[in-house]
């Protein structure tokens, strides 16, 4: 390349080269166990459910996670007020499909759990989830009480 073309030549190479190298560095870091620019892998079924990652929910269920128990959830997944929900509670924020997935697998077995989840979905403003859970009748809920219980539990940690 002539000297006069060197500067435009560098100008045309650098941005595209940088983009490729950036993607490769990202890939190498991810393969070595750290995913930059993300929250990293979901640590339990509640995190996966809260993040709405249905395939991860299914995988973690197969690995033995129980969505009925309490799980630590990082504040960036749902909110800083919801850091110790059950997997079922977290699923409210993950959306209707996740709730349905867990319901179909028999994890919403008793009426008490269903009522609690319905009230929590109402508090969280998740209309689609409320519609799904109240298909056979809507319970009466004390506004804010279900969410307050989840919040209190998180703050007690």
């Amino acid at each position: 390349m002539s000297r006069r073309a060197a500067l435009p030549g560098i100008a045309v190479v650098v941005p595209a080269l940088f983009a490729t190298v950036a993607v490769l560095v990202f890939a190498v870091r991810e393969l070595s166990g750290t995913t930059p620019l993300s929250n990293g892998p979901m640590r339990n079924v509640a995190e996966a459910a809260g993040a709405g990652q249905s395939s991860e929910v299914l995988r973690l269920l197969r690995d033995g996670d129980d969505p009925r128990r309490f799980w630590p959830v990082r504040p960036e997944i749902i909110s800083s007020y919801v850091t110790r929900p059950t997997g079922l509670e977290a699923a409210i924020w993950g959306g209707r499909n996740i709730v349905e997935l867990l319901d179909q697998r028999g994890f919403i077995a008793d009426d008490g759990t269903r009522v609690h989840l319905t009230c929590l979905a109402k508090d969280a403003g998740k209309t689609e989830v409320v519609e799904y859970l109240t298909a056979s009748g809507a319970p009466s809920c004390e506004t804010g009480a279900a969410f307050a219980s989840v919040k209190d539990r998180s703050l007690q940690r």
């Binding site: 390349m1 435009p8 030549g9 100008a11 045309v12 595209a16 929250n39």
Partner: protein
């Protein structure tokens, strides 16, 4: 360099710049391949195809699809069946690996077609590859698979055709060209563009194929039309087969019939025109002026603007190349670079015409792939003609910087889109039973059920989801 500023054809052997270009191409394949391997075999568009392709023998599959109503794509099915048999149950590895291998061959052909010999040639390669991956017409060739992406297969056939046509004359190139056009045309309709590549290259002075070889191409394409329209009576897509983009939105089939049923010609002209515009300006997309509408409503996205800007700048560079070379073209003196740009122009026109009934980004992918080649050619030509003055160098540097930044941004957006699509596909596999019910599809045999179970487990358990990216910066890359 000749007096007009065009680089003379470097016919010599490979240099260190050649190997550097191939090395860079390998890095690009690794980067894109990583994204492709994060994507499971798809549920919609793939599962049914795999199950269908697995039935009976290969010959039965080919024959039955040769006589099928509606489409003439026997080799599409044949290829799925061959890879299915080779996989021996390792569907993810083979089908996803096939996709990566296709990208590797495509990138290798891209570098080979550019014939990199000097530093200016090598300098244009990163830009060209960023354009190849970043152009919107390419996204559909990597984001989807059926489970083999047919459009990617046609890109390989088109680049392969250009490689055959631009090489030294050999008898076997005629034979290979004939086989290639038959395979491509009977894989998907846009495969006919392979014939356009051969004819355009020949008209631009490329003599890799003999006169008889090119005549054979014309005869084969004519034979395809006779077979399709007169023997098999398959016809072409009708006006109202699907809803279509028009103006600022979609119009459904009923409205299409009402507005254009009596005289569809204006609609066809609109589709051809907007397809060309889309290729050259990234606007409109699928017949819809998305970016224009968003700018008018103040709801614009950065990626939309960058896409249009990069395409406009790139198109101007290509146009400048054609303008500067017009004298040589009129005198029918073509360099290899001229031939590549001439092929692009011919494929762009023919590809737009193919979109007459229905326009969609991925249908334009062959023209998009040649756009990337033409851009790389125009860029190295531009570098070679850079004015020696300080002002000239500064202007050239800014132009190159803007161009490369824009296309690199689009290439990164394609990678992010691929990762997002992988998450969506995995989500679909979670609800496969519901999907099968909605599609009214019931796996009939144990073998069919085993395929569904294997693909589900591949997508969810064996190759789990990579963590989604988070951050406000993602908005920059959203369409």
């Amino acid at each position: 360099m000749d007096s007009s500023g065009a680089e003379s054809d470097p016919a010599g052997g490979a240099t260190r710049w050649t190997w550097l270009a191939y090395g860079y191409g390998a890095l690009v394949v690794c980067a894109l391949g990583y994204g492709l391997l994060g994507m499971p075999v798809q549920l919609s568009d793939s599962l049914n195809n795999i199950v269908e392709a697995s039935q009976g023998s290969l010959s039965h599959l080919l024959v039955s699809n040769f006589w099928a109503r509606g489409y003439l794509r026997p080799f599409l099915w044949g290829l799925i069946r061959v890879v299915f048999d080779l996989s021996n149950g390792h569907y993810f590895e083979w089908f996803r690996g096939w996709h990566v291998a296709q990208v590797a061959v495509l990138v290798a052909l891209f570098v080979a077609l550019l014939r990199v010999r000097r530093a200016t040639d090598a300098a244009a390669v990163p830009l060209g590859l960023a354009a190849l991956i970043g152009i919107h017409t390419f996204w559909g060739t990597v984001r989807e698979a059926f489970p083999i992406n047919t459009f990617m297969t046609i890109l390989l056939c088109c680049y392969g055709a250009a490689w055959l046509a631009l090489g030294p004359p050999r008898w076997w190139r005629d034979v290979a060209a004939a086989l290639l056009v038959i395979f491509a045309a009977l894989t998907v309709e846009s495969g006919l563009l392979v014939g356009v590549v051969f004819v355009a290259a020949w008209l631009a002075g490329a003599r890799g194929l003999s006169r008889a070889g090119v005549a054979g191409q014309v005869a084969l394409v004519a034979g395809y039309f006779v077979l399709r329209f007169m023997v098999l009576d398959i016809g072409s897509p009708g006006l109202t087969e699907r809803s279509s983009g028009f103006g600022f939105g979609m119009i459904d089939r009923a409205e299409l019939a009402a507005r254009f049923g009596a005289n569809p010609l204006p609609f066809y002209v609109y589709n051809v025109g907007t397809s060309l515009l889309s290729l050259l300006m990234s606007e409109p997309r699928g017949g819809i002026f998305v970016t224009t509408q968003r700018v008018l409503t103040g709801d614009w996205r950065l990626l939309n603007l960058v896409s249009v800007g990069a395409s406009l700048l790139g198109t101007c560079l290509i146009a400048a190349f054609v303008w500067q070379r017009r004298g040589e073209w009129r005198a029918r003196r073509f360099t290899r670079d001229d031939q590549l740009v001439a092929i692009f122009l011919a494929v762009a026109a023919a590809n737009a015409v193919i979109c007459y009934a229905y326009t969609k980004d991925v249908i334009l992918s062959p023209a998009g792939a040649f756009y990337a080649l033409a851009l790389a050619v125009a860029a190295r030509h531009f570098l070679a003609r850079t004015s020696p003055t300080m002002m000239g160098t500064a202007v050239a540097s800014v132009v190159m910087l803007l161009l490369s930044t824009g296309w690199a941004f689009r290439a990164v957006a394609a990678q992010i889109d691929l990762r997002h699509a992988a998450g969506v596909v995995r989500g679909e596999w979670v609800y496969v039973d519901r999907w099968l019910e909605e599609q009214d599809v019931v796996p009939a045999t144990d073998a069919d059920r085993a395929i569904v179970a294997q693909l589900h487990d591949d997508a969810v358990f064996r190759h789990p989801m990579r963590p989604p990216l988070v951050g406000h910066w993602l908005k920059w890359f959203e369409e």
